[in-house]
Amino acid sequence: MEGAGAANPQSINHREPSDREIFNLALVMGDNCLILGQQISQWAGHAPILEEDIAQANIALDLIGQAQYWLGLAGEIEGLKSEAAPASNVKGRSAGPRSADDLAFLREPHEFRNFRLAEIPNGDYAHTLMRQFLFDNWHFHMLQILSQTPCMPVRDIAGKALKEVTYHLQRSSDLVIGLGDGSDESHQRMQGALDHFWPYTCELCDPRWGVDLELWGLGDSAALNLKANWDAYLARVMIKATLVIPERAPLVAGLRPGTHTEHLGYILADMQLLQRAHPGASW
């Protein structure tokens, strides 16, 4: 790893997060894993080399597996207390707490909490790799913080996921460096990809997205640490990759949980096809 910084949470325990806060966090984590996993799974059989077919399938498997954990937690929390988000009255869903599948396949676009970054189309392989790196850089540092929260169910999932995501970040960093500092063409493609995704990176560490780390018993500095670690790690990798971090302003307008691009509707139409077409069926 390119010396990814360790989190340094102060152990000031503010208060236990509410069920709604856990629910929201689980959706942010789970939806990002689900949507990005869904997107990269499309490379299976189409990647530039056989080893990349295998690697993309592997990462997609990890992310969708993590989505199962996070969305499972969201449904569990929601089922425990009515304080969490109210169960939507969806045709075809059995009564009782929502399962990970209910949350994945029977929610509307505005109910998803993934970053816009995750739903931008795969584009060429440079786009896919750069999007992955920018996401992994956030995912790794976020999980590092969450794996130290006193909130046990969150800490357990984060701890498990961190092992996988440590490898994801290692891999995507190596590829960004290798291709940035590769041929003229690979350099140009990677710089183009960085410029393309840069505006969407604003969401990654912003508490306005719905996860206020200050509330997570991690001390006031956790949110600041997340952003600082994200920036520092990005800078180290981009220097080695000989890529220039854009000066272009990020897309802050309309920044609030549930902000999406037009792409999400298509991703969900594809993913949710069978559950929507056959309400209540088991598969």
Binding site: L61, Y125, H278, A281
Partner: protein, 333 residues
């Protein structure tokens, strides 16, 4: 069968008396069941035939990612999605170690890939059929992997060590795939009328192409006789096809599905099912490039390769730069 109609260069199988010294020693080792390893002497025909057979198998795994990859994004539950992704990943992995086994015979993966992309190399006819519904994921696992296992299990005992060992690994995963496919079919058949209809439709479309996977009857084929003498083919095509039918018909009954063959009858005397005429004209059309998806499959593989050229070149350039930097640092020190 992921390798169909593999030619051997033989016009007839030589007897031991007709062989030269090297050939005779080789054949006697094969007959005794001793594995042939990469550095051992082997007849040219054996080497060439194995390269054809193993690479055809590898190509089938690679192209085989496509029809199932088509449904990963639409898998109906997260668990089904994960299982399907893992299956497609396994296929890429099988391709990787089969290319590795072929490389031990002195051919590079790049050469084999070029043969696939140019259309010169064959891959299994089955992957040229389209996947139209989710039930096709069940039917492929149940029937296609089921048929592949019929051939691959005996190949674990084939005479060439690296191929036999690759088959052991492949078979473990294939039998898992087959169970998963059957499990999908079972869920559909226990489900709504629409789901069951989807399952029947998939069986209707995949049954005949699955029977064709074993290749045309080969009891008079000199190539099959030679391959059997070399122990790189263990059973006849019809023998395996019948074994497959006998295994599968009761499974279809358990599912409550109807095998789409009006001539299917239990033959008491043979203790096996008789089946209707197979449309070999369709088979030869598909093998010859005129199947429903031949063009799409090859186009997809070519696109992946061409679009990925900058990626492969970029990483090579980086490796060269890194090496040059290390050398200049070494010299400076």
């Amino acid at each position: 069968m992921y390798a169909q109609m593999v030619k051997t260069e033989a016009d007839r199988v030589k007897t031991l008396a007709e062989m030269d010294e090297c050939e005779r020693v080789f054949q006697e080792r094969v007959d005794r069941g001793v594995k042939i390893e990469p550095k051992d002497w082997m007849p040219d025909g054996y080497r060439k035939t194995l390269i054809r057979q193993i690479s055809q198998h590898a190509h089938s795994e690679i192209v085989g990612q496509l029809p199932e990859g088509n449904w990963i994004s639409r898998a109906p539950t997260l668990q089904r999605k994960v299982i399907l992704l893992a299956k497609v990943q396994d296929e890429a992995g099988h391709g990787l170690y089969l290319y590795g086994a072929a490389e031990t015979l002195g051919v590079s993966r790049d050469e084999l890939t070029a043969q696939l992309l140019s259309g010169r190399a064959k891959y299994s006819s089955i992957f040229n059929y389209p996947t139209l519904s989710w039930a096709d994921m069940g039917a492929i696992g149940w029937l296609v992997d089921g048929a592949a296992i019929m051939n691959q299990v005996p190949l674990q005992r084939c005479s060439y060590g690296p191929y036999a060992r690759a088959m052991i690994k492949v078979c473990k995963e294939e039998s898992f795939h087959q169970r998963q496919g059957f499990d999908i079919m079972m869920s559909l058949c226990r489900g709504s009328a629409a789901q069951k209809a989807m399952a029947q439709d998939a069986l209707d479309r995949w049954w005949a192409p699955s029977l064709m996977m074993f290749g045309p009857p080969d009891e008079h084929s000199v190539h099959s006789a030679q391959s059997k003498a070399w122990k790189i083919k263990i059973n006849g095509n019809d023998e395996l096809r019948h074994k497959f039918v006998d295994q599968t018909v009761p499974q279809a009954k358990l599912l409550g599905l109807e095998i789409p063959d009006p001539d299917l009858r239990w033959n008491e005397a043979r203790g096996s099912y008789d089946i209707g005429q197979i449309d070999w004209e369709e088979f030869f059309q598909v093998v010859g490039g005129n199947g429903p998806c031949n063009r799409e499959r090859l186009a997809a593989r070519n696109k992946a390769h061409e679009d990925g050229a900058w990626f492969r070149d970029g990483l090579m350039a980086h490796a060269d730069k890194t090496k040059a930097r290390q050398q200049s640092q070494g010299e400076a020190a």
